[in-house]
């Protein structure tokens, strides 16, 4: 059986795939927005002087990092409703999963970056009378943020690709849209190739945005 590559299939699938891309972008942006808030909070709590807060943040990070994202999303969407008797819409479940999941990894990125700042910076800030919070906000955090950019970029790209796992709960994101097209036209090669190119375009956009941020905001030379 000869394989007959048909480029027009790729072009024809683009309009439908665009609706999937739209959802992928929405899930990624909202998910990572909350993921960063969760991560920054948990990361800073891990550095807290309060043992209970440290343990709490640690438990969050460990439990999320130690379980597969697909299990997390199925637990949230199929499992939890059985216990609480209320079903969350798939899109919400997907966004919450991405936020919780990326947050656990971002927590470690934040903790590592903050710890990498010389303790002399905190001491100098405290010695001019800044409170611990002010010293963190004006002195340590801005420097740590600069160091976070490369690993954050990594995590953003991973999380974007992880949204493809949301097919299991039927969120109509890019991968799901691809599956749906193939179920009608059976052109797996062309459609998956198109889907792959679209993911690549998205992840390259993230890389580009972050390198511009590094250069313009943090004056990192490349």
């Amino acid at each position: 059986m000869a394989f007959d590559f048909d480029a027009s299939v790729m072009w024809d699938s683009v309009p439908i795939l665009m609706t999937g891309i739209r959802l992928t972008i929405i899930i990624t942006i909202i998910g990572l927005f909350f993921g960063f808030i969760f991560g920054a909070t948990a990361g800073l709590l891990k550095l807290s002087r309060n043992v209970l807060l440290r343990k709490l943040a640690g438990a969050y990070v460990e439990s999320i990092r130690g379980t597969p994202l697909m299990v997390q999303v199925m637990f949230l969407y199929f499992g939890l409703p059985m216990a609480v008797g209320m079903r969350i819409p798939p899109l919400t479940a997907g966004i919450v999963t991405i936020a919780l999941n990326s947050g656990a990894y971002i927590a470690e990125i934040v903790r590592g970056a903050v710890q990498s700042i010389n303790p002399g910076q905190m001491e100098a800030a405290r010695s001019i009378g800044l409170t611990r919070f002010q010293a963190m906000r004006y002195v340590v955090w801005p420097q740590a943020l600069k160091r976070m950019i490369p690993p954050l970029g990594n995590q953003f790209i991973i999380s974007l690709k992880d949204t493809s796992l949301l097919v299991v709960i039927g969120v109509g994101e890019l991968t799901r849209t691809g599956q749906e097209i193939i179920s009608v036209n059976f052109r797996a090669f062309e459609v998956w190739l198109t889907v792959a190119i679209m993911y690549l375009a998205l992840t390259m956009t993230i890389s580009k945005i972050l390198s511009v941020v590094e250069e313009k905001v943090f004056h990192v030379k490349r």
């Binding site: 010389n118 002399g120 001491e123 100098a124 001019i128 800044l130 002010q134 002195v139 420097q143």
Partner: protein, 247 residues
Amino acid sequence: MPMIEIKNLHKYFGDLEVLKGIDLSIEQGEVVVIVGASGSGKSTLLRCINKLEELTSGEILVDGYSLTDKSTDINMIRTEAGMVFQQFNLFPHMTTLQNVTLGPLKVRRMKSAEANKFGMELLKKVGLEDKAKVYPDQLSGGQKQRVAIARSLALRPKVMLFDEPTSALDPELVGEVLEVMKTLAREGMTMVVVTHEMGFANEVADRVIFVDDGVILEQAPPKEFFSNPQFERTRTFLGKVQNPNAG
């Protein structure tokens, strides 16, 4: 009332007793130089004065306020006692002017224009008004330390604490930092200086304190301290720092 009063200060790091009962009183306007071998506890003593180290026991009063009293605002004490570090610890993401004005802006709640004007005065005082817009990584070590001094002065402290301010500098850059410190001393600033610069101690100090193994072994005005040390340990130490190549 003394500017700084230290009563029976003990400091442990774990099981290690670093300060073994320090009593010290420093008057307003006095310049005290603390010398001693590395590991003798002199830097720890200095760091206790603005509570960068927790005291294990004993009491320290700065301008009459007790560091151990729960009602004392520790951030207020820190603005009263400016600290200059061996490693400068300038904030690398801020210009020199921003380094200097951060305290006035955030701690003293000064208006931006006023803080900038005051910051420029201080940079001028340390001879660096032309470097206001420059980031610390473009400065020499001596320039960095002068900015760090200006940053501390920006809180209008009553005491300045110097923790080996010239030890990380290339020899040719030591002089410019000592000059700034001498100016401060002449203006009547109360200063506590941990240093190995015996020339500075001799010229500027009102009193030299020798810390050995966690206690103040002896203290005297510099002429007396350098010409006629009372203890053998002091003589040995002075012999080593004054003739580093001998013995």
